[in-house]
Amino acid sequence: AQTVTQSQPEMSVQEAETVTLSCTYDTSESDYYLFWYKQPPSRQMILVIRQEAYKQQNATENRFSVNFQKAAKSFSLKISDSQLGDAAMYFCAYRENYGGATNKLIFGTGTLLAVQP
């Protein structure tokens, strides 16, 4: 069965600095999606960034970028120029790319990020 591991329960970063959140996953498949979701105190789940496994180029979205290492099954999230509004729980998630409802999202346990002013 596929698993997603986030080994950092909590992280802290100074405002304007850079922080990297770690995620590893286990799968025997070659075609899949990886995601980072942000959950602020409002509880809303917000998609931060998405990576398709067949794409070698790392995804970027403004200050957010990933380091996708397919062979190592690693998918880290880098937040540059951290802002107070980045403080949240971050979840890494995996989904196979077969299409259909059975391709459920599998989540890691989350990393709680604090941003210090």
Partner: protein, 111 residues
């Protein structure tokens, strides 16, 4: 999020009572999901649906049932609530880019 709403947002109920949570979407998506979120576990799939009257179990389905009589509505029922079902419940729909769009969640407390 736009297109998917959950109700209620908060609920306190007593042990042994039935509880129904509602998820409503306006996106006409075929696939809908119910997850629960607990500290140290992330989000875990309870049940999912791939069409009207078509549902299946996820990894933590014991004590829960679902129904989908219309495309837009997906109901989650706790048949006899227990304290272990105190959690935050999220409904989700698949989006065209492969991820999910989530509702705003329901915080359920069983006392």
């Amino acid at each position: 999020d736009a297109g998917i709403t959950q109700s209620p947002r908060h609920k306190v109920t007593e042990t042994g009572t039935p509880v129904t949570l509602r998820c409503h979407q306006t996106e006409n998506h075929r696939y809908m999901y119910w997850y629960r979120q607990d500290p140290g576990h992330g989000l875990r799939l309870i049940h999912y649906s791939y069409g009207v009257k078509d549902t299946d179990k996820g990894e933590v389905s014991d004590g829960y049932s679902v129904s989908r009589s219309k495309t837009e509505d997906f109901l989650l029922t706790l048949e006899s609530a227990t304290s272990s079902q105190t959690s935050v419940y999220f409904c989700a729909i698949s989006d065209p880019r492969g991820g999910y769009t989530f509702g705003s969640g329901t915080r359920l407390t069983v006392v």
